[in-house]
């Protein structure tokens, strides 16, 4: 099942707030072991395209439009839940788990970017 685009858009809009909240939690919690510099940066960090180019583009080629080390993501028939879960938990020996690195808001931003891809 797909997350309604309106939710994705809303999450994207409130990302700066989520980001600050995440940072506040991490500076005192266990997450401090993996500091999230995005939390300190500008609201543009929510840009799923930039996040993709920073990290995901290493394996999902042409911005996710073409298979490479990882599969093609544009027009994926996988559900939103599946993609979010895969980003969080990864796949042993193939894809790192980003659940401890990206916040839910960032993962939604990446999902929104993937869903907006043309072939």
């Amino acid at each position: 099942m797909r997350i309604p685009s309106v939710i994705i858009a809303s999450l994207a809009l409130i990302w700066p707030c989520l980001s600050i909240a995440a940072f506040a939690q991490q500076s005192t919690g266990a997450g401090a072991e993996n500091p999230l510099p995005q939390a300190e940066a500008s609201p543009n960090d929510i840009d799923g395209e930039k996040m993709f180019a920073t990290t995901c583009g290493f394996c999902h080629q042409d911005g996710g439009r073409h298979a490479g080390r990882g599969p093609k993501l544009s027009k994926s028939e996988r559900s939103d839940e599946y993609i979010v879960e895969r980003i969080k938990k990864g796949k042993p020996g193939a894809m790192p788990a980003y659940g401890g690195v990206f916040s839910d808001g960032q993962i939604i931003a990446i999902l929104a970017y993937i869903r907006g891809l043309d072939d």
């Binding site: 180019a53 583009g57 042993p92």
Partner: protein, 579 residues
Amino acid sequence: MTLHERYVVGCATVAVAALVTISPTRAQVPTQPQEAALNAEAAQNDWPTYHGTYKSYHYSGLDQINTGNVKNLEVAWMHFPERATRGIQSTPLALDGVLYYSGSYSRVYALDGATGKTIWAYAPELDEDLVSKQTHSPYNRGIAIGHGNLYVGTVDGRLIALDLKTGKPVWDTKLLDSKKMTVGFTGAPLVVKDKVIIGAQGGEWPHRGPIFGVEGKTGAKKWEFFTVAGTEEAMKTWGGDSWRTGGGGGWMPGTYDPETNTVWWGTANPAPLYDWGGADWKKSGPRPGENLYTTSVIALDPDSGKLKFYHQELPHDAWDFDSSVGEFVMIDRGGKKLVVHANKSGYIFVYDRSNAKIENVWPLVKNINFVKSIDPKTGELIGRRDLSEGKVDPPLCPAIAGGISWNSGAYSPKNGLFYRIGQEWCMELTVEKTTPILEPMAQLNIGATFKFIPPPDGPARGHLSARDPVTGAKKWEVNYKEPPLASVLATAGNLVFVPDAEGIVHAYNADTGEELWSRNNGMGHNAGIISYMAGGKQYIAVPAGWGSLVADEFVALYGEPFKSMPKNTGALVVFALRQ
């Protein structure tokens, strides 16, 4: 002397005598490679260090297996490691008839070199949660032997010493906070005198890529050299605070020159891989400046870890063309002491061993456009293509996997030829102005999206060429539909062995390139091939098992057999002549 004292002395004498009587057999079992073997041109009965010997020829002096009888080569025994996630990517070692090798998750095996019977096996407990977050994991690319120990690094930032005879841990030193830095160790360590030297992963991760010198007997860290801004001079080559997250690393083992007491090591690219500074890279972009000592060959004092000299092969590497990838082939020619080093860009650099001054630079591959050329006298990059934000046009050659990959070539002192795999491919690339990453974190730092494409002159492909290592003059070449990704082995039997990507091991006549033998191991090769002697018989050992990050690209490029090729299995296959 009292009776009691006489009794004690008598017992002690008997005990010493017994030790002397028993010891000869044990004393003959070496627990570390001999200095002469390490310094030799050819690996003889043993394969004592990652690159064969410190000369880094990947050359065996054994000739029982030769051009006349290689057709009779057949499988002698096999070994299957546990949890071969991403295949097997390591180069085995051999000492006194025992073969040692590592698999994924830094599992280590000691096997009877003649029969394959397990002598001991070791599996470290790793931080599995951390491993699940890592991109370049959980493979291990090799081990080192010395001081009665076997050394292996781990992806969670440790260097472990095992007793060579028993496989029991001797010490376990945490060198990196991998939870914070993401990076750990996948490359083989190098034993130099009383030290074990190992380089951290680096490149696209925002840390500073240290190389460590550790005391072999105790595991105590003796020095740490940062490949990113490791000196005051280097700090000035990073604009702002970019040095804090500059990447670097020394993820493949270098070698040692005993004549000058110098360790040669190659360093990785800076992070982010691609930046938008364009032609103004000295002043703008995410990492303004030359970014020392990334994409460099560095010469370190093994005793202190101090930098002696260096050459930065690609100042401000804007293309991810590491210097980590290449072996350091030590050649004496015409009264000059030279070292030949392959850079990922597809260029081969030839240096003066005393100071890293350029003696020559020559291209191994045809499809290169990140520069127009490299000055063979000075090493200066001529017509460099610095990238700006947006689509890169025409596409960049070679592709991110390089004109040369991380496994090693071979050099035969018998005929003076250097055997190296080259890769011909390019990629479409769009550089993105990503948000600066100011602290290390568990995340890659790429700065672009890209797609592999064939080069302008034909399909994406690979080749093995036999060349003069100093001039690059080509004697023969063999072409492959897909680039082989394993190391090459040359032998005194006048043979060159190439384990290829589809799973075939080829043996060629070293002088002509004529194929004399081949066998299908059933899965692609990503590791190092060696030769050794056990029980008076020569063996060829090659790990099979597919799954490196470059190998991952083959599915989209070539389809089958890579689409169906498993990436979670592997086998060590050992060949010998039919009786």
